[in-house]
């Protein structure tokens, strides 16, 4: 499985990597903002199976990134992982096309459950 982690904090990407290791063999790619993420997606030899996206990032934020990804790709599961917890933000993210939403701070278990739930829904679809 190939996962792209998009977060401007390297510490947060490392924490997510450790959580995702519980899924077994996972190939992880990383991006520090939306622009870098689009470049990774465009140059990737195989599509990603899952993308975790922070909201607040320099250059291109997570909401704009989700909109850009969904212009061409309606199927790759996207999970927003962010400190933005207001209902209006969650609704905006869902409207933009995220499949799931995780609010920071999170426990490893809660992030893992949300990831598994998202992947299971994708398999069932």
């Amino acid at each position: 499985m190939r996962v792209l982690l998009v977060d401007d904090s390297g510490t947060m990407r490392n924490i997510q990597k450790r959580v995702l290791a519980a899924l077994g063999q996972v190939e992880i790619a990383e991006a520090g903002d939306g622009v870098e993420a689009l470049s990774q997606i465009a140059s990737s030899p195989q599509p990603f199976n899952l993308i975790l996206i922070d909201w607040n990032m320099p250059n291109m934020d997570g909401h704009a990134l989700v909109l850009r990804i969904r212009e061409k790709d309606k199927v790759t599961p996207l999970i927003m992982v962010t400190t933005e917890a207001e209902k209006s933000r969650i609704i905006a993210a869902i409207k933009a096309g995220v499949n799931n939403y995780v609010v920071k701070p999170f426990t490893p278990q809660s992030l893992l459950e949300r990831v598994q739930q998202t992947l299971e829904k994708k398999l069932a679809a």
Binding site: D8, S9, G10, T11, M12, N14, I15, R18, N56, P58, T82, T83, E84, A85, E86, S88, K104, P105, F106, T107
Partner: protein
């Protein structure tokens, strides 16, 4: 004595409680450390409480800034617990981890302030004696925090704008 009474009446619990709850949540969930909080007080000096500080700005219906300021030794141990491995103090990753902790504290509080606000990216300052300029008409309230590995403080200097003030600011920006 008069100054103390004025300070205490100037502390608005509606602004402070969201930060208190957010600090507890971030450190127990992401760092695995319980945080004990002492009585908040008004701060007069512009210098942050400790040596390692992250500052995050608020804009929108809430304006101002929040500084999370750590004792260096506490910062090193808390970052290690947060990141899962020790990170050298001089490394950019150290500042990144401090900034992310501050980001989660500010973000967690923001949702309970009852207004729409936007946060700036965290800036991190390492070293003794640095100064931070805040809005002159907004008091800075210090929430002293203790953990098993040392102390830190959350310095809240934000105010909620009335709708008319927000409209005026938006017109000025336009």
């Amino acid at each position: 004595m008069q100054a103390t009474q004025n300070s205490e009446t100037a502390i608005n619990p509606k602004l402070i409680v969201p930060f208190v709850n957010s600090v507890r949540s971030v450190f127990s969930t992401m760092v695995g450390t319980e945080t004990m909080l002492d009585r908040p007080h008004i701060k007069a000096q512009p210098a942050p409480t400790y040596d390692v500080s992250s500052i995050i700005g608020f804009s929108g219906d809430v304006i101002g800034s929040v500084v999370v300021s750590f004792q260096r030794s506490a910062a090193e141990k808390l970052v290690e617990a947060f990141a899962g491995a020790p990170i050298p103090f001089e490394s950019p990753d150290f500042a990144d981890a401090i900034g992310e902790l501050a980001n989660m504290i500010a973000g967690g509080a923001k949702q309970h302030l009852g207004k729409m606000a936007t946060l700036t990216m965290p800036n991190v300052i390492l070293g003794q004696g640095h100064m931070i300029t805040r809005l002159s008409d907004v008091p800075c309230i210090v929430i002293p925090c203790r953990t098993a590995v040392g102390a830190f403080a959350v310095e809240v200097s934000v105010k909620q704008l009335a709708s008319a003030e927000v409209n005026t600011l938006q017109k000025e920006e336009a």
